[in-house]
């Protein structure tokens, strides 16, 4: 009973409550909201961001940040376009682009782990550098004309009404949950984020874990960039520009502490559902982009304050127990 009670009064429980209210509100406000087509669209329009948010959960819990993810997405999409333009078949270009993504992560990890620079600074620099590279490759003209099977992967339903990327997201979410909450690696990620010193004294290979997390972050971002290219069927130097803010907003709203050591995959997934249904609800209510940005900006501020709310929320709910 206490376990159930604790779960319901946790941050995740609060997010679930918000999500239910949001769905109810949206469903009442627009008859379109609950239709299957709209629910698929709701995911489909942001699927690349939410896939990256799963990997970002590990990065931030680990006490780091990766600002370069959106630029890696852009670089991956543009490299794919460039390779396609150079005559490389898509089936060969995809693994090359994924390797490039892993290499981007390796580059980030080198400066963070080997040289010891803060990830904030390193990934800020590579955010600019990778974006610059993407723009050099493709400039401002669009490259399209990808093979039909590649475009279909992003645009057409694969199983039932669900496109490949949505199925992939749910599979990756399950994998992330197991990895973070049920494996030694997951515990190491969390312990390092909570206290690097404790982790080092306990014999955890901090450098290796951090490298793995940063490389995975870029690798997943490259995959997301390819999914974006498939969904829109053409790439340009500004692909995914500015996505890092939305991604980090989602992860922080999910209860992952910006200081590391705290967070769960369940929280991130709930935050994803909240942000997507909020966006979709605002779009169906015909709110302009400026208002939507404003609302998401407020959400970012609130989500940075999550640790404060979390403490307050749990004090209020657990007070009777503490007294008795």
């Amino acid at each position: 009973m206490t376990a159930l009670r604790e779960r319901l009064t946790s941050w995740e429980g609060f997010l679930l409550l918000v999500l239910v209210l949001l769905y109810a509100w949206n469903a009442l406000a627009s008859p379109v909201f609950l239709t299957l087509g709209n629910q698929v669209n709701l995911f489909q329009l942001s699927i690349e961001k939410v896939i990256v948010a799963l990997a970002m959960t590990f990065v931030i819990i680990n006490g780091e940040i990766d600002l370069s993810v959106a630029s890696v997405m852009g670089l991956a999409a543009c490299s794919f376009g460039w390779l396609h333009g150079a005559g490389v078949p898509a089936a060969a270009a995809i693994p090359l682009v994924l390797l490039l993504g892993l290499a981007c992560g390796g580059f980030n990890a080198f400066w963070v782990v080997r040289v010891g620079l803060p990830s904030l600074v390193v990934t800020l620099a590579t955010m600019i550098a990778f974006r610059g590279l993407a723009r050099v490759l493709v400039e401002d003209r669009g490259i399209g004309g990808f093979p039909a099977w590649f475009n279909a992967l992003g645009q057409k339903p694969l199983i039932g009404p669900f496109p490949f990327a949505i199925l992939l997201f749910f599979a990756m979410a399950a994998l992330a949950w197991v990895l973070l909450h049920r494996t030694v690696f997951g515990r190491q990620v969390t312990v390092i984020g909570a206290s690097r010193a404790v982790a080092e004294y306990s014999g955890v290979d901090v450098g290796r874990v951090k490298t793995a997390v940063l490389v995975a972050s870029s690798g997943v971002a490259a995959l997301a960039g390819l999914l974006f290219a498939a969904r829109v069927g053409a790439v340009r130097g500004d692909v995914a520009l500015g996505f890092e803010l939305d991604i980090i907003t989602i992860v922080l709203l999910g209860g992952v502490s910006i200081f590391g050591g705290v967070g769960s995959v369940t929280g991130t997934v709930l935050a994803i559902l909240i942000v997507l249904s909020l966006r979709n609800g605002m779009a169906l209510a015909n709110l302009t982009g400026h208002i939507q940005s404003g609302v998401l900006g407020v959400l970012l501020i609130l989500s940075v304050m999550v640790p404060v709310f979390r403490g307050w929320f749990q004090r209020v709910l657990h007070r009777p127990e503490a007294v008795s």
Binding site: V32, G37, L45, G144, V232, G242
Partner: protein, 346 residues
């Protein structure tokens, strides 16, 4: 100005519309058509003017449906346009009038919308591949821009003298095409023989850079009589520079500009003539095209002729600036002078 530099049309020779004998279709007023006017992004004057034109047509046709004006923020333009177009299709709206800023990346969303019964009509900036779009309402023909600029230069300099061009960036596709069109126009007609282009410089579409480049031109060319700026940022900066330095009697400014930003310089003689198409008219015409398509009065087919309210009769033609796609060419340019600039600046 963003809308001048962003749309990526290629220059093309002017092709006459195929003259097919056919009665012009007219709009049956009072039918419910839900419209979305989707600009590249919100917050700049020309798009608000296009909205005014669309509202005018909406009222004129007595459409009981909704005209929604919504758009993304400039930073989120591409993803935002795709999202709004997709949502409009989910909502079952009949027409989306799109000033495309997403290149061909909008194609899958536009095709999905068309399949769901939402027509996509582009204006100001088309879908480059023409896929997913019913047709494009083009503002003016690029070749005509060259002739208009040549004529303004001819008129301001009385047919003789040195002039220079102040453009946006060296790789701005629109401006380069327009400058090439002007040079072609100058070479094509003997009456322009006295006009001498002495320099072409770039102000990067930034006010301060353009201002300094304009002053540098005057220093470098003592006999300069005119600065031609085919960019709405450059023309304002050049006119201000000439005014601030008291050079307006010697060096005039002309080019493409927005009346509201140019009115004081036109009235005080620093920029006696400049040109632009009317965004109000463009919004009005795009609305008519969307309404006619949605009500079944016209098909998106070459040779189809129709009437667009106060603007008269138009014909759908193949778009000569793209490999694939149909267009309605609005035209013509409005040349603004002290006579008409105040009314347009409202």
């Amino acid at each position: 100005m963003r809308h001048l530099t962003l749309s990526a049309l290629a220059v093309a020779a002017f092709c006459g519309a195929p003259a097919i004998a056919q009665d012009a279709a007219t709009a049956g007023p009072g039918q419910a058509v839900d419209m979305v006017l989707l600009p590249k992004f919100l917050g700049i004057l020309p798009f608000d003017q296009a909205h005014r034109g669309a509202q005018e047509a909406h009222a004129e046709l007595g459409n009981p449906g909704e005209l929604l004006y919504t758009g993304p923020t400039p930073e989120n333009s591409v993803a935002g346009q795709i999202e709004i177009l997709t949502t409009a299709a989910s909502q079952g709206r009949d027409v989306v009038l799109l000033s495309n800023n997403a290149g061909d990346q909008i194609v899958p969303a536009a095709q999905a919308a068309q399949e769901a019964g939402t027509r996509v009509v582009t204006w100001d900036s088309p879908i480059p591949s023409g896929e997913g779009e019913s047709l494009f309402v083009a503002q003016v023909d690029f070749a005509e821009i060259g002739v208009v600029m040549a004529d303004m230069a001819h008129s301001i300099m009385d047919g003789e003298g040195q002039f220079a061009i102040l453009s946006a960036t060296p790789d701005a596709a629109n401006q380069n095409a327009w400058i090439a069109a002007m040079q072609a126009a100058l070479a094509a007609d003997e009456k322009y023989a006295g006009l001498e282009l002495v320099d072409t410089v770039y102000g990067d579409d930034q006010s301060e850079v353009s201002y300094n480049r304009a002053l540098a031109l005057v220093d470098a060319h003592p006999d300069l009589e005119l600065i031609m700026a085919p960019t709405s940022v450059g023309i304002v900066a050049a006119a201000k520079a000439m005014q601030d330095e008291g050079l307006c009697d010697r060096v005039k400014v002309s080019g493409l500009g927005v009346p509201a930003e140019m009115v004081s310089y036109t009235l005080n003689g620093c920029a006696p003539q400049f040109a632009l198409w009317s965004f109000v008219d463009l919004g009005y015409l795009a609305y008519y095209v969307g309404y006619l398509l949605a009500t079944g009065a016209i098909e998106a087919a070459e040779g189809q002729t129709f009437e667009a309210g106060r603007m008269g009769t138009y014909t759908i033609e193949r778009d000569p600036t793209r490999d694939n796609g149909l267009r309605v060419l609005m035209g013509p340019f409005t040349v603004y002078t002290a006579e008409n600039v105040e009314a347009a600046a409202q």
